[in-house]
């Protein structure tokens, strides 16, 4: 398709089609013989799309409650910049796809398990423990974690190691701004993250046949964590984070495979040593610590040269070339200068 070859800077975001138009627009395009007629169709149909957005069922978020302060905070967010790496120009994935096709093994291993099994997920109260090599460790409530930060919309590509990808408008802020507040000391070379452990809400955590050692863990090198693209997200599509997408607070690192972007975070620890991450721990030959999107290094079970940009359709396939660092090479390549990325996969 035309869109995938355009550079981020080519289209102002005001021209990006609202996600929910996507299907009707694709149908429309099919109707006229599949000719990409660009933003004209989007403009024609955006009236419908707004109505559809407003009718979105709150039940899709699968949250027991949405604290009023969070709703207010999200409503005061800054819009995404018109272009650049914080606002991918790719067509956004429809809300319904982004919230019903998920890898969140705590809920189950099928893509539909998270959205169908997450019911009344409790995010209030929620606290995050800050630990390790820093001057201000402690247990902070979610409200305290978010308080000094202005939330903003950011549109990022998300590339799963299983060779599919989406484009998602997150709501959040730079991880680095959060980490600085706790004053990491000179020993802090890495940051480790941990997901909630709660078999009552996460059925797979008590499965007898699961080989993952819960809770799910992830980690970043300090300079990666401080990169402005690395983000803490508390919502998507202008709303709170659905349970199945990692409520209430998750990491989003757009240049790495999706499994690095750990969900439902309860603990952040500054460390002097490289933390383990769950998938590497499980299968070190297949998953590494860095997990940078890299079309040149194949996973033993999936070729990484191409990806299926969702939604695909049987009648309009959508296999596109995968770009180094998921298209964020200009921004992040320098972090890895001099490293052999084949060995450090």
């Amino acid at each position: 398709m035309l869109i995938k070859t355009r550079k981020a800077s080519d289209i102002p975001s005001s021209e990006i089609t609202p996600a929910s138009v996507y299907f009707s627009r694709r149908d429309f395009m099919r109707g006229v013989g599949g000719i990409a007629i660009g933003s004209a169709a989007g403009v024609l149909m955006s009236g419908d799309a707004m109505a559809e957005d407003a009718n979105r069922s709150p039940a899709l978020l699968n949250l027991a409650s949405k604290p009023a302060w969070l709703v207010q905070k999200i409503s005061q967010r800054k819009p995404a910049p018109p272009s650049g790496p914080f606002a991918a120009a790719d067509e956004k994935t429809p809300f319904n796809d982004a919230t019903t096709y998920n890898n969140f093994y705590e809920f189950g291993t099928d893509k539909t398990d998270p959205s169908s099994r997450a019911k009344n997920f409790a995010i209030d109260p929620w606290s995050v423990e800050i630990a390790g090599e820093c001057n201000k460790p402690g247990k902070y409530t979610l409200e305290d974690i978010l308080k000094p930060h202005t939330l903003e919309d950011r549109v990022y590509r998300l590339r799963c190691v299983e060779a599919w990808s989406m484009v998602i408008p997150w709501v959040g802020f730079s991880l680095g701004d959060l980490l600085k507040r706790f004053e990491p000391n000179g020993n802090a070379k890495f940051v480790e993250f941990q997901t909630l452990q709660d078999p009552k809400q996460f059925p797979e955590q008590s499965s007898r046949f699961a080989t993952i050692h819960w809770p799910y863990m992830e980690g970043l090198r300090m300079d990666e964590a401080m990169h402005p693209l690395a983000m803490m997200a508390v919502g998507l599509y202008g709303d709170a984070m659905p349970a199945q997408n990692g409520a209430p607070i998750r990491l989003v690192v757009p240049w790495k495979y999706g499994f690095k972007s750990i969900k439902s975070i309860v603990r952040i620890r500054f460390r002097s040593e490289m933390p383990t991450n769950t998938w590497k721990d499980l299968q070190p030959s297949e998953y590494g610590f860095y997990a940078n999107v890299n079309p040149a290094v194949n996973h033993p079970r999936w070729s990484q040269a191409t990806e299926r940009r969702l939604p695909t359709s049987l009648f309009m396939p959508h296999r596109i070339e995968t770009k180094p660092f998921n298209g964020y090479a200009d921004e992040v390549e320098s972090l890895y200068a001099g490293m052999d990325l084949r060995k450090n996969y």
Binding site: F23, D27, P94, Y101, P300, R301, P311, S313, L314, P317
Partner: protein
């Protein structure tokens, strides 16, 4: 009753294929509710699941014939086996047509570089050989070799389960279930062959 068994089983086993054909037709009309955002992957997984169920069923026909003391079940052997081949072939077709989009150099790479694909393809090859030699004429022509050749269905069963185990990322529950089924059927066949007591054991006396 026994007269209707074969057509009945024929229709029932065709059911899943018809249902998914209907779903695809609906998607073509624009209703993608069932196929989700990644239809090729979805069809790959459902066809794989039906393939392994049909294969397990075809492995079970002979043991069931003994255990239920129901000789007429034998007349279903070929049909159930051909269904297993049919669903595995659909699974292979979805892979080549929808996931690889007929990129045959990619297929060659997948076959040689990914062990789980190699195993699956070996299983498909065996089922292909069994399918083309399943007809009466081939059976007569192969004589006593036919029986030996067709025991290869167990090899296909084991390869298919290995294929499945290789795919599992974290939860082995389902793969272990299929492994247990193949192991149980294989052990039963071995015992049945060598231990007279097992041969006499039936669940229902006529």
């Amino acid at each position: 009753m026994q007269k209707f068994l074969k057509p009945l089983v024929f229709v029932v086993l065709l059911g899943p294929a018809l249902w998914w054909a209907y779903i695809i037709w609906r998607a073509y009309q624009g209703d993608v509710a069932y196929l989700g955002p990644d239809p090729p992957k979805m069809l790959e997984l459902v066809s794989g699941e039906w393939a392994i169920r049909m294969l397990m069923l075809s492995l079970a026909v002979t043991p069931l014939r003994y255990l239920l003391n129901a000789p007429y079940l034998w007349r279903l052997r070929r049909m159930v086996g051909l269904y297993a081949f049919f669903y595995v072939s659909l699974h292979f077709l979805v892979f080549v047509l929808l996931l690889l989009e007929l990129d045959f150099s990619a297929l060659a790479k997948e076959l040689s570089e990914r062990p789980y694909i190699t195993l699956g393809f070996m299983a498909w090859t065996i089922l292909f050989l069994l399918a083309v030699t399943s007809f009466n004429r081939a059976q007569r022509w192969l004589g006593r070799h036919w029986k030996r050749l067709h025991r290869g269905v167990y090899v296909a069963g084991v390869l298919a389960v290995m294929h499945l185990i290789w795919i599992v990322r974290s939860d082995f529950g389902e793969a272990l279930l299929y492994l247990a089924i193949v192991a149980a059927l294989l052990i039963y066949r071995a015992l049945h062959k060598f231990i007279p007591g097992v041969r006499q054991f039936v669940l229902f006396k006529p």
